[in-house]
């Protein structure tokens, strides 16, 4: 499935829905969306990953970028990640830097 990243705002919460494969070729698009979200100074960043099928190191790099771009005061929630995507987050230790949630309502 082709990669897609859709940004939506509700009050000061930025919600990005990710689908497809987040790899080296799609990472720049994700980075653009992160930068777009950062322009509106959100208080919380929610990444919906239910439909994200693959996360390569390039994608992880953008997540690291997101954390540093948003700053320490903006909590990042990773929602619905599963399978190899969740495995990659856990093995690399990134899951300790964000909040992992099963559903958006929890976030």
């Amino acid at each position: 499935m082709a990669f897609d990243a859709q940004l939506a705002f509700k009050e000061k919460v930025a919600k990005i829905t990710l689908t497809g494969s987040l790899d080296a070729s799609s990472a720049p698009r994700f980075k653009e969306v992160i930068e777009e979200a950062a322009l509106q100074s959100p208080t919380k960043l929610v990444l919906l990953m239910d439909s994200l099928e693959f996360l390569a190191s390039a994608g992880l790099r953008v997540l690291i970028f997101a954390k540093q771009k948003m700053g320490a005061t903006v909590d990042i929630y990773v929602v619905g990640s599963q399978g190899p995507v969740l495995g990659t987050l856990e093995m690399s230790g990134f899951h300790h830097s964000v909040y992992i949630q099963d559903t958006y309502a929890d976030a």
């Binding site: 990472a27 190191s57 390039a58 540093q68 230790g93 300790h96």
Partner: protein
């Protein structure tokens, strides 16, 4: 044109920076002359700066691969105008940094007598590569015919460290835990999701924290090849590896095979996460670094990096062009050549700054003090440079102060006020005393004080002494008291490998036994070892698993064993819960008593007006230690008013050690009148849990004037 698959498209910042604007195009790649520094492959706006040094090469070619590909994607010759001095440098733009691997072809003379071994057919690993592909998953058989077995990769330095930095714990407050990443969690009993990896060690941090150690010393974790000299045991068929990893492929890259994410190329992140989490738990990280040789071996070995780039610079060579072998591993890195000195410095600065590493232990460090012809230097420039380097200014520097060429510098290693040493004499003297040898009491007194006989003469304090009784080389502690002889048959070398000077004692039965008397006696000796180690001045270091009675079944050189001879069996936590409890409490005892952790040598005098010297010596009679050659008993008292050179107040501590085969009655000196009564903190002759008491919960000693100390046991009293 270059393949579209590796072109990342337009780079926004490219037009903004004229110093990063392409001026050349070769084979479809946009280029410009690079910057000589830093060496290696460095990400720059819109591209990558490649820089490599060779004194004698005629030409240099950058070889690019798509990740994992057999055939190169492109070969770009460095235009001669891109060379400054002996450095080729080139910026290549529009590369997809995630999917590129790179190496070099160097053409130059092949004249072995002159020291040159160039071979332009070889694709060479950059000595400054920050990540290496090719051995991504531990134990996966490599393509032996590969032209490019170790593949340089590009690394982003964007890790989110938050506020982390090296901890800078005062060295006298360290308790070091020497361990091997894979061995720590590879055993099925570990219960972790990714056994044998950095991620798994992270899951086990709570265990390390509970043990109480304040520092982990990791056996080699940078890229090595477990298949180097791999073979099958001639009798058993067991696969034997280069398991410990004391043979470097690349000094800057973490070993991918130690990362759960190695197959994804994310070993850098995984290791950094481990360091960050250890720091959050106030645990320092020391790396065991092997700068004495490389994995290229001697003239019969492979050419994959240093040999093909600048053999004459990187290695110590005989006048005939062969390799000096002070390492015992085929070659010797030419550490006091200025170029090699620079790579060592650059490497350690990189680990300290980019990975927040707290210190380094240098394998066979005596080699670092030899000149290019092998002679020991009185003022080795590399050791001086490391000691005074600003980036390394707060790092612990620890030397294994000997080498395989016979240079033994324990006590005389050129320290420049910074270096500590693995104190091999502590190990030897303690082992002899523990098993009841005569003539060791005088040496024991020196070792307990932090070896002033070795370090006091030139102004070095007890912090110069890394005290240990066991380490990865040799028996585990359980085996130290279970075997008289080594049993290395599993290594397939007819039991000829490994040392024969073990100073061990099997306690009456060689190896495993079901005799409870022998088992309990061995455990008592282990408790004795832990006790004396933790009450000694200097920096205690313990070996992974010694806290729970890990055995190597008599093998004292498990360098090649990827099995339970090395893997920590976590079931021992229950099986030897008494030992584990004792070890935890003994570490806790040390940390609770600053009087055990002075930075400066004890004076054997009273400089605080307490009426007692900072340390006083006793025996069966108080104030009258038996220093005779036949003595096997010694006691000492530490005056709490002299803790940390008198800057803090602690309890008095009295330690009685009996390695005689008979019970001895020790007359106990009275502490200062305002220091209260004696309480029993440790009696290794007692069964658990009465062998050791938590600080503050020690029972009061009945007879305040005497203590019957059982054969081969140690007693510790505290006064309050």
């Amino acid at each position: 044109m270059a393949s579209d698959t590796v072109l990342a498209g337009k780079i926004d910042s490219l037009e903004a920076r004229i110093d990063y604007y392409p001026t050349h195009e070769i084979a479809g790649f946009r280029l410009r002359p690079g910057k000589p520094f830093p060496f290696g492959a460095t990400l720059v706006p819109g591209g990558v700066n490649f820089s490599v040094f060779s004194s004698y090469a005629f030409t240099c070619v950058l070889v690019l691969f798509e990740k994992g590909s057999v055939e190169p994607l492109a070969e770009i010759s460095f235009p001669d105008s891109f060379r400054i001095g002996h450095v080729w440098s080139m910026m290549v733009f529009d590369l997809d940094c995630e999917r590129i691997e790179y190496g070099y072809r160097m053409d130059g003379p092949f004249d072995t007598v002159a020291g040159h071994r160039f071979n332009k057919d070889k694709i060479l690993l950059d000595p400054y590569a920050k990540a290496v592909g090719g051995r991504d998953v531990w134990g996966t058989s490599p393509d032996w015919d590969s032209l490019f077995p170790y593949r340089g990769r590009l690394v982003f330095e964007d890790f989110d460290w938050e506020d982390d930095r090296p901890l800078e714990v005062p060295i006298e407050d360290l308790v070091i835990y020497e361990m091997h990443i894979r061995s720590f969690t590879r055993h099925p009993s570990s219960g972790v999701r990714h056994p044998g990896t950095f991620a798994a060690m992270r899951d086990k941090i709570p265990y390390i924290k509970e043990l109480g150690v304040t520092c982990v010393e990791l056996m080699p974790i940078y890229e090595f090849d477990e298949f180097e000299n791999s073979r099958r045991h001639p009798d058993t068929g067991e696969m034997l590896y280069n398991y410990w990893g004391y043979s470097t492929v690349n000094f800057f890259a973490p070993k991918a095979g130690f990362a759960a994410t190695g197959r994804l190329g994310m070993q850098v992140d995984e290791l950094k996460n481990l360091v960050k989490e250890l720091h959050k738990n106030n645990i320092e990280v020391i790396l065991d670094v092997v700068f004495n040789h490389t994995a290229e071996g001697d003239e019969r070995g492979p050419t994959f990096s240093f040999r093909g780039i600048d053999n004459k610079t990187y290695y110590m060579l005989t006048p005939e062009g062969y390799y000096y072998n002070f390492s015992g591993c085929g070659n010797t890195l030419n550490c006091n050549n200025p170029i090699v000195r620079s790579i060592v410095l650059d490497c350690l600065r990189y680990w300290a700054s980019e990975y927040h590493i707290d210190g380094f232990r240098f394998d066979l460090a005596a080699i670092l003090g030899r000149d290019p012809w092998g002679a020991p230097l009185s003022n080795p420039p590399l050791l001086e440079s490391l000691a005074f380097d600003p980036v390394l200014g707060k790092c612990k520097l620890i030397a294994e102060a000997w080498d395989a060429g016979g240079l033994y510098q324990v006590g005389s290693f050129p320290a420049f006020g910074r270096w500590a040493e693995w104190n091999g004499k502590y190990r030897d003297d303690l082992r002899c005393f523990l098993k009841g040898d005569s003539g060791k009491v005088g040496s024991l007194a020196q070792r307990i004080q932090g070896s002033p006989d070795l370090y006091g003469w030139n102004g070095r304090g007890p912090t110069a002494s890394i005290n240990f009784i066991t380490c990865h080389d040799g028996f585990s502690m359980y085996d130290l008291f279970s075997y008289n002889e080594k049993h290395n048959e599993a290594n397939g070398e007819n039991n000829n490998d490994g040392g024969n000077d073990n100073d061990s004692w099997n306690c009456g039965c060689e190896g495993e036994t079901s005799d409870p008397g022998i088992i309990n006696f061995r455990k008592r000796l282990i408790r004795n070892a832990w006790t004396i180690l933790m009450v000694s001045h200097g920096i205690p270091m313990v070996l992974m698993g010694d806290e729970m009675g890990r055995t190597q079944r008599g093998n004292n050189n498990t360098y090649c064993q990827d099995n339970d001879l090395n893997w920590l069996d976590w079931g021992l936590m229950d099986e030897n819960a008494d030992l584990l409890r004792f070890a935890r409490n003994m570490v806790s005892f040390r940390m609770a008593h600053p009087v055990l952790r002075n930075r400066y040598h004890l004076s054997n005098q009273d400089y605080m007006g307490s009426g007692y010297a900072d340390i006083s010596w006793h025996g069966e009679s108080a104030w009258n230690a038996d220093w005779s050659d036949e003595s096997r008993t010694l006691a000492f008292m530490l005056c709490g008013k002299h803790a940390k050179s008198g800057t803090v107040c602690d309890e008095y501590i009295y330690v009685a050690m009996n390695s005689h085969w008979e019970t001895k009655c020790f007359e106990i000196p009275m502490p200062a009148p305002d220091s209260g009564k004696w309480y029993v903190a440790v009696n290794t002759a007692m069964p658990s849990p009465e062998d050791i008491f938590e600080p503050g919960k020690e029972p009061e000693l009945g007879d305040q004037g005497h203590f019957l100390v059982t054969p081969y046991s140690v007693v510790v009293l505290v006064a309050r």
